[in-house]
Symmetry: C2
Subunit: 293 residues, 2 copies
């Protein structure tokens, strides 16, 4: 028996029609939802994500503004670009691709984004909102979760995988994916464990979970360090969020071929979360555009 | 065999001399560290904590300003008091007792505190700093953790209880104690699980931990819902942070008498964390007073 593949494209396609009609309805009020992306340099990951955004935005009628800065840009240059987009009433959402070049202070560049345009949840106000949130019902329209972490929840919901009362293990503790995913699962009433590179018995922890979210990134060990069958158990759902790159291409944290013979549900090696993440981003931009000015 | 009792008073007494000499050194520069506490109404918990603060502050030479507002105060009244203390250059730290009266918007009242005076880590900037922190080494001098959560770490460190690589379970997910304690344990490289009222198998989770932090509060069930021996296992360390009150007095989340026969280390039913929390608060105020203006 092999696991059900939790593909993302169908979820994204399901989400699209409702978003299109919200864009039309905003257009009838004279509002064109607009996302501005700020990219410093030409990192292939960033360019690929930007192109996926551009395609989806065009399909939905969302305006995309691309601010492509030089890879040698400094903090002032990036912050100035962000500040100018912040002040522009025609821009409803701002996404800054990360990591920024090493010489840029990410904290300084991101702190300039007004929380109301922070559609990827990177500002203090949005992070604190997620941190302090008791449950999903508390999340007001002005709270934007990091899109990738929210995509994890959307995938689980789409496939009818229960979260409340279940055990979830998140492998990885970055503020970009691991921590926001943990907070969202907690706000959906899972018992949530975060483990990481300093955890001695990760496999013992992951084997006992109902849901395992893999978001560690295998920067050092590469493919040979992927989580294999020994990390998983029958009946589990595995969401692989990680995007690692080597000369042979893109791969996640999980050895999908080995693990799909063990668990009940797993995201595919490619075509998993990316499309959903892009749609969540579009939804946030449209929500920001519809908010009272 | 009975567990070692992790008493707090000795930790507080150990911390005090170093703080006293920092106060003296600041005095020689003409700075008198000053904490302002804002209390609306006369909740017995608040008054007891305020009196403990007053005693410790007097002992260390920290100035205490008490703003006692009427229990009927509204958001504007509380925010005005906080705003006036914020603007006062002689005040280095501000603590607002919570919960505030029901008619006060806590978020609005707390948001007025400048992060540099937010010695209990309640503002967006401080919460986001804790959330995003990679590890303790990242914590700059301007980052103030919620005092009770930091006291948990101080107790573990004082008694030489290893955190890194160990499993910690936090029972309770409030933004006041449960979540900050979980983030601090994570930043000290524990694998951290948060469970709560919606968790089905809390005892299974707590029994497998090295460290259990109890911070749920047993508001509904009272003493009969305390965590008994069946929640624990030999060799564990149990930190009971909760302060519950009934007609017979104050009690924690743990049935200490029953559990101390099982585990290796446990905070006492009283005299555990309170004194350490107060000292951590004093340390934050002194740090805030010493920061460059």
């Amino acid at each position: 028996m092999t696991a059900k593949l939790l593909t993302g494209k169908n979820i994204a396609d399901n989400m699209a029609p409702a978003l299109s009609s919200r864009v039309e309805s905003l257009a009838s009020e004279g509002v064109s939802p607009c996302l501005a992306v700020v990219r410093a340099g030409e990192r292939p990951d960033d360019v690929a994500y930007e192109n996926a955004i551009a395609k989806r935005a065009a399909g939905l009628g969302v305006v995309l503004r691309r601010e492509a800065l030089d890879a040698g840009s400094d903090t002032v240059r990036v912050a100035d670009a962000v500040r100018s987009l912040s002040a522009d009433g025609g821009v409803h959402g701002i996404l800054v691709f990360r990591p920024l070049p090493a010489r840029v202070s990410e904290a300084a560049a991101l702190s300039v984004i007004p929380p109301a345009k922070d559609v990827d949840g990177v500002t203090d106000a949005q992070m604190a909102g997620l941190y302090a949130m008791r449950n999903y019902a508390d999340a007001g329209a002005s709270l934007f979760f990091p899109c990738t972490a929210e995509a994890v929840i959307r995938v689980l919901d789409h496939y009818g995988i229960a979260i409340s009362g279940r055990r979830a293990v998140v492998v990885g503790r970055s503020a970009v994916i691991g921590k926001p995913a943990a907070h969202l699962l907690l706000a959906r009433d899972a018992a949530v464990t975060v483990c990481h590179s300093k955890t001695r018995d990760t496999a013992e922890l992951t084997r006992e979970a109902d849901i395992v979210v893999c978001a560690a990134g295998l920067a050092s060990g590469g493919r040979k360090d992927r989580l294999g069958a020994e990390y998983f158990a029958p009946g589990q759902t595995v969401i692989d969020v990680a995007v690692n790159v080597d000369e042979d291409g893109v791969y996640g944290d999980v050895d999908t071929d080995a693990v799909k013979g063990v668990v009940a549900n797993i995201t595919p090696a490619s075509g998993g979360l990316g499309a959903v993440t892009t749609l969540v981003l579009m939804e946030h931009v449209i929500r920001a555009a519809g908010a009272p000015a």
